[in-house]
Amino acid sequence: MAWLALALAVWIGGWWLNHVLSHRPKTRVTRLAVPIIFGVTLVIIWEALVRGLEISPVLLPPPTQIAVTFADKTHILWQDFVQTVIKGALTGYVLGCGAAFLMAIAVDRFDFLKRGLLPVGNFVAALPIIGMAPILVMWFGFDWQSKAAVVVVMVFFPMLVNTVEGLSDTDAMQRDLMRTYAAGYWKTLLKLRLPAALPFIFNGLKIASTLALIGAIVAEFFGSPTRGMGFRISTSVGQLALDLVWAEIVVAAIVGSAFYGGIALLEKALTFWHPSQRGRT
């Protein structure tokens, strides 16, 4: 009962604090503090509810137990991280986004390709591409190469569609100005159209960053060597070692957020001139 009362008290207290904070003028501190308080509140409630209702740790381990497992099994987690994120996801991400970028420039050059490939690309981007995973695992073997291949296929089309859209984001006036400067195709591309396309490219990179992790992990469900985050998750679920599963999820969450956040920071640095970035301090 005490735990349940604690959960209720924390919820009310946290919400009240946030209510007060969010009705004060917005500053950098409140903008950061409010979501953090909300998150901490949720974690404490989780802990209190699991203990108060005596939920078996096989079903839902309390956060403290997950933290202990996380600290104990760092070597396993690190090994899985290297296998899945560095070898699988990152390789595939760089290859896929790079290929899509080059393809987009080619597509943009030839109007015929653009009119033909864009509808197809848009269509493919909506398909459940993750289903390609078993086929690619069969082609490239169980190791990280097949995971990288899945990631390449998954990130290619969102990236392509976004980049092509970005490259056509200049208006006639700007292009005419480049012509009056006697700038050729390449010069116009480098100095005007690529910078103008950057917000779209970063949008594609952000979408691709979450897809890359998902692709690398899910591909491991179809076969992998005896390490990797997807492998660990599916086998630990079988052994009902849910604390290890949750530890892997924490790793995935940290990696995913860091990946996304890194790209967002890079975007901020490179597209500081764009209206969506100006006015934000």
């Binding site: 839902l60 009119r115 197809v120 599963v245």
Partner: protein, 290 residues
Amino acid sequence: MRNIVPVLTVVAAIFAIWYVAAVALNAAWAYNKAERAGVSLTTSELISDTWSQKKPKLPAPHQVGAELWKTTGEMVAKGRAFSKRSLIYHSWVTFSATGLGFLLGTALGITLAIGIVYNRTMDMSVMPWVIASQTIPILAIAPMIIVVLNAVGISGLLPKAMISMYLSFFPVVVGMVKGLRSPGPMQLDQMRTWNATPAQTFWKLRLPSSMPYLFTSLKIGMAASLVGAIVGELPTGAVAGLGARLLAGSYYGQTIQIWSALIMAATLAACLVGLIGLVQRIVLKRMGMA
């Protein structure tokens, strides 16, 4: 309409590449067979063999087409459209999880969006977490969700639908928040001069102007929901559904079966997204927005 020729060209090119790739990838096995039989292959024999293997590395399009017909059209003709060997049955299983998850996700998304737009505290505390929740590769915990819910006694449709829900609520929240905030200060002031209650402002101004945003996010949500349902079927031990077909195919090396399940999933996705597009056209037209 002027895009038809380029699109058809691209599609034709994809098929051509597919056929060529089938020859290239399956050639090794064809040579292997020929060597053991002690015969040498001419080019035409090689090509016809690579396009008709039983377990090819890459099945040719017509093989996939034949398998699709065998598992859908022929089953219907025999009156066994819902037998366990028919893809229509498996698509139906996947579709029901997708649909339920999509409905739940949309409802959750719209509710959250209304809360975020009308409550400042929610806006500041929940919104960042909604965005953060998507940087977490949620599909990774799909197996755990299924197993845990099974242990509490919830099995069948609901666990899969939960995963679909989690994937589809995000685009709806983001789109609806944008949409509900899309009326400008001028329009909101106009409502105030008419002495409209907050409820009236919501029903007559905010909700209608959010419709274009809603439909765009529904399309993304539907596609995500289907992916969720397919991945959700993987850990259930390949019982039923398109995801189960994929897994069973990869266990037994039945590439043709994998490809036909894949094409079926693609068709299903295209139909569902197209359906939303149709509803969007009709609704927006009747509202005078398209």
